[in-house]
Amino acid sequence: MVVKLEKPVRPLLPKQSRYGPDPDHIKTRACDLENIVSLRVRELFRDIPENIYPSERGIKAVREATVDALANVDMSMIKPEDSVNILGSHHGFLLAGGEPYAEMLKAIKDVIAEKTGSENIRLKVGVGLRFRESDEYIRRFGLDEYFGKGKAKGVTPIDEGIPIETEIGTLYGIKKCYDADWIVHAHNSDVREIHFHRHVDRAVKPFGMSYARIETRSTYHHNLGPRGANFVARAIFNSEFVQNKWTFATFLKPTPAGIAGVDADNDLFALDERLTIDNFRYYGKILSLLSRIDECIVVLDFQAPIPYVFSAGMIFANLSASSVDIFDLDYPLPGYTWYTEAFYGKDDRPLIPDTPPVNPAIKAMVINYAWGGYPSVFWAKMIPTIVVGEHQADVFEKDPQNIEFMRHAVVAKDLQTAIEFAARIADTDKILIFDGAPGAINVSTPLAEELVEKTFEVNKAVEQKSMPKWCRQRGMKIGDKI
């Protein structure tokens, strides 16, 4: 197949955050290195749907898609005097610069107000492990003003909890998420942490994570096993407590190329099935392609913690986990997940022999720009790691989640030096950049050529072999959907 190698697509400008270095320190971007080219994702996989954003229609396309998606959603349970909590997650703001998710949240509020007459609509946005992150986004996108004073708030898993009785026993939610008569689940369909949720009930996950207390999240990552983990989300969602407040879900629908639309449904499991098929097709192909890379140096260059920097819609953690097919449930452990990490002994070797390694194709990791706020020492132990500049090293040194990180990494003065050093360690000229470049993968020319060469075979293998298997494993009737 013929795919044009284009000049690099520039990533978004660095953002000010308490979790990352001062953007003024980020002087050189990885895409500015010599011999870097861009592969347009839609050139590689031409069945990926057209974007509504970014597109010529601008942000209003997201509002229109949200209004359209909500047209047939039943909101009759909400009475004018009722209160409504729209529940969101920080992660939506990392997609396409964050504006589409913010616009979807604003549009949901407006549609609820118009259809139900309710004036008491609040926004509660959950977090990962950076407790102020959602508040930063709420301010950046003017959601505090849009929802009204005190009505848009970040919530965290260490906030006051509420017990929720489920079919497996007591789990715990964040009280502020449930302090309204009704809840609306406003999320996105990005695969993101597939190494954790394994795309089993992906749409339900925030009930066991963003909207959940530490006890529930700890249950997810320690108590239920690597393929059963996301059951905490289903257990909470199915509980009488949550169902008594449930209204509907609205999801932003990204693809590896941008934002393709908005979906909404009163039936969360029906929505989950739709987005699962789409994700297998689009993200499944991209990750299958990236996981066939023989060797590379990865460069992290984005305003997110190490696992969450992304390239062509896939986060770095996904690639590091892809020593096995992480969509395939026959593999108990991905190369990275917290169960996998927990199963490494004091000598940094697996405690059981069939633990898959971190993706051995990653020969070295250069961190030009990344945030703290996620325990990342494991990668530094497993992959030769070069951090660019003392300012970036300082982020890790002062991060309670990464105090030991710099014991396992070295500091280079600048990006060029780091790359040269990494190339000597890795003995490869193949570079894969995780900089969130919209709709594209920024790579060195030799890697671009390798990816183009492998795309046809990946496309065929995913369509004909992988997708039917992945669907079967999840009890999905594949029929004519594929």
Binding site: V200, E215, T219
Partner: protein
């Protein structure tokens, strides 16, 4: 083991004594003292691990900040101080491999938590003070700690009016056969995961 290189510092000009910091501190190192309008948070530097929970949840900008310690310190419990067999027995009772990591931020393993318990710790807070566990992200590691305490026959009570933790939750070993059968065809591979976890435990025996 945990390197402590930061500590929380309160600006009493801004602090209102609202108590949120007290409710979220995993080592009970910050408490409110004073009467009415004079209420202020005070940090115990002997036990503060510099985890930042107070800083991250304070509603009053600038009231608490993390500062760098002039000299970092190390907290931890050496499992070699306790009989290896006792540690193993406690871990197996909790169905956790002794070398299994329970805290991804500090790298704390089950054997260190077990050693802390066997040396007298009776609550997650005491274990955090002794080992540093639960002072990184403050989110992911509470349940294996509660499981190890339960295995030792200890049922700690949550901190009164605190939000530190609420209670022990189910494990895959507690899920009924009926639920396993109900959901196994939907991609929840509980039986297969149990086999994996058993294999891990057996590798230590």
């Amino acid at each position: 083991m945990r390197v402590v290189n930061m500590y929380a510092e309160v600006n009493s000009e801004i602090c209102t004594g609202c108590k949120i910091c007290e409710k979220v501190c995993p080592t009970l190192s910050i408490k409110i003292f004073g009467e009415k309008k004079e209420k202020r948070a005070v940090v115990d530097l002997n036990t503060c691990a510099g985890c930042g929970a107070c800083v991250e949840r304070c509603d009053f900008e600038g009231a608490i900040a993390l500062k760098t310690l002039e000299e970092s310190k190390i907290i931890g419990v050496d499992p070699r101080l306790v009989d290896e067999k006792e540690i193993a027995e406690l871990c197996f009772e909790a169905k956790i491999h002794p070398e299994q990591i329970v805290c991804f931020c500090t790298g704390t393993r089950a054997d260190e938590v077990a050693a802390a318990i066997l040396l007298g710790a009776t609550s997650p807070e005491e274990i955090s003070i002794k080992t540093g566990v639960r002072t990184g992200c403050k989110v992911e590691c509470i349940e294996p700690i509660l499981r190890l305490l339960k295995a030792a026959g200890i049922e700690p009570k949550p901190v009164e009016k605190g939000w530190q933790w609420y209670g022990i939750t189910p494990t895959v070993w507690d899920i009924s056969e009926e639920i396993i059968q109900k959901y196994s065809a939907r991609g929840f591979y509980f039986d297969e995961d149990k086999a994996l976890l058993k294999k891990l435990l057996d590798s230590a025996k």
